[in-house]
Amino acid sequence: MIPLGYFIGLSVLLFVLGVAAFFIKRDLMTMFMAVEVMLNAANLAFVALAKSAGSPAGQVIVFFVITVAAAEAAVGLAIILLVFRQKKSIKAEEMRLMKG
């Protein structure tokens, strides 16, 4: 039916777009969202390959990835909130305490 290659190609494209987004954006929120994009690209690849190999293990992995991504998003956003409370800004350049 639909060639596997299309899905994989899309996954690669999405991943690279996510990487580019991470480097282009300057505020923490959007950078974090770019990370989510990358995760989803990987998920797409997993599901496609699961279908291709006929193994449901791929889908189980995706299930876990989504779960963990949810947890990570929760904690990450909490941290961003804290940072914002301290610094009143979420510009990534201003987070330089670890310099040197």
Binding site: F23, M31, A92, E93, M95, L97, M98, G100
Partner: protein
Amino acid sequence: MEIFWLIPLFPGASALVLAVLGKWLPKKAVSWLACLSVFAAFLASAVSFFGLLRVPAESLPVVKTLFPWIQAGSFRSDLALQLDPLSSLMTLVVSGVGFLIHVYSVGYMAHDKGYRRYFTYLNLFTFAMLILVLGANLVLMFVGWEGVGLCSYLLIGFWFEKPSAANAGKKAFIVNRIGDAGFLLGIFFIFLTVGSGDFRAINSAVGGGVVTQGMATLIALLFFVGATGKSAQIPLYVWLPDAMEGPTPVSALIHAATMVTAGVYMVCRLNLLFTLSGAAGQVVALVGAVTAVFAATMALTQNDIKRVLAYSTISQIGYMFIGCGVGAYAAGMFHLYTHAFFKSLLFLSAGSVMHALSGELDMRKMGGLRKYLPLTYPAFLVGAIAIAGVPFLSGFFSKDAILTQAFAQGQYFIWALGLMCAVLTAFYMFRLIFLTFFGPERIDPQVKEHLHESPRVMTVPLVVLAFFSVVAGYVGLPVVFGERANLLTRFLEPVIRPEAEGHLSINTEWMLILASVAVALCGIYIAYVFYLRSPRTPHRLVGRFPAVYRLLYNKYYVDETYNAVFVKPLVGGSRAVYDHFDLRVIDGAVDGTAAAAGFAGKALSVLQSGLVKDYALAFLLGVAVFLGYLLF
């Protein structure tokens, strides 16, 4: 006799105990421990000596290997001690005289605040000296050699707060080191030619023709350089007069009886080598003779009691080297043995005089002391008579033995120098006696108030030493009393072949004896005239030959010459090296390394920008590289 290896252990253990626990021990305990340990060494030496007499000559030397010490490829050196007539004689002298001096020190150093430190060093010295004489190979002997050098430094500079004493200690050590360089080179060459430092191996190698005459000369001369350092001969004698800064018992033990004689012992130990090389022996005898006269001339003008005795020591050791140089090693050892008694007697008596006069050393401030020091005076006198070579005392026999042998070997020039030295010796010794004990009193009145004879603990050793100064010579009667009368030579035969000695007709022998006696009495008489009969004579003589007097009084300006020629350039050179090399290159390298590390750190810290993006970039880079690696 099997216990001879314990001999050095007693003072060694005592030194260790004193070093570690000395601070907390009461003074009495320190005295008893130090003296008894040396006495124990003496007893062990005596027992070993008697045991040795029963051992047949073929199984000598008796060697006891304590454990293999250095083994590096073909180089092997064990910790082994050997007992034979030569080393036995030395152990008796060292421990016997050492014991008496330890006892004397109890009285002399009684009020010194470094009492415990003193006895620690003194015991340590005794230990090192015994190792030196008992060592069965060159390496162990060198260990003892360096050990006594170290203790000499420690004891000369005992009162280190005094700059002159500290400097004297340094001078002694450094000058000795120069000699030690020669010694070391000698050891290296021995190992090169013989393959081992063991004395038995050396002797059999020399006897078996393994060592050529040229090589033997080289090695012997190198060792003799070491001897000139340790035994204060020309050119390395300059440290000994300065060494009088140390306490008087130290001067007696180290710089009269034992350490300075180590060079003589060493030459005798290697006598086969010196005999094989005729030239080396000649050099030794010549240096000895010249030194003897040279030092005696300097003793003529000194006003400090101890300095006179110091130059006298240098001179007498020259005698011993004359003996060794002409092949009469036994005669050299004989003089070493008698000299130990009367020289230490002289030094200890001088110490007694100083003690009585609250530390006064200058003879110009003495005079007429014989009334006040009824024990010290006779002791001193006995020592002086012995050293002058008056018949029937020990010095006469040993000096005569040396001079006779020199003559017998045809070394007339050396014999003449020896004779001249005898005159000078008698003269300056009696000058000392007359100035100190006779004549008008020139004593400082404040000092005179405290004038007192020394305590028994100091005078008893004097008496003992005086006794030996008289009788010790009878073991070496000259041939006129019978061919086999010289017990000492017979005793030393297994080590020192008597074929090296010459023989003379009875008449010639008597003539030589008479010559020595005449010369000695002559010297005494001249001193009597100069200092008692017409005391203005010396002054008139000085007035007539002021330049000569100045030359002698300033010790021929040798110290100043050495200073200008060697010391100053070395110090200057060292400073230059320090400024240009040490500070710039070495410090530069170290600082540079630190600076480089800092710089690298700074450079790398650019990567630590604190920005998340940059770290992510690093991730990306890593992923790209890794993927690339996997793909291609």
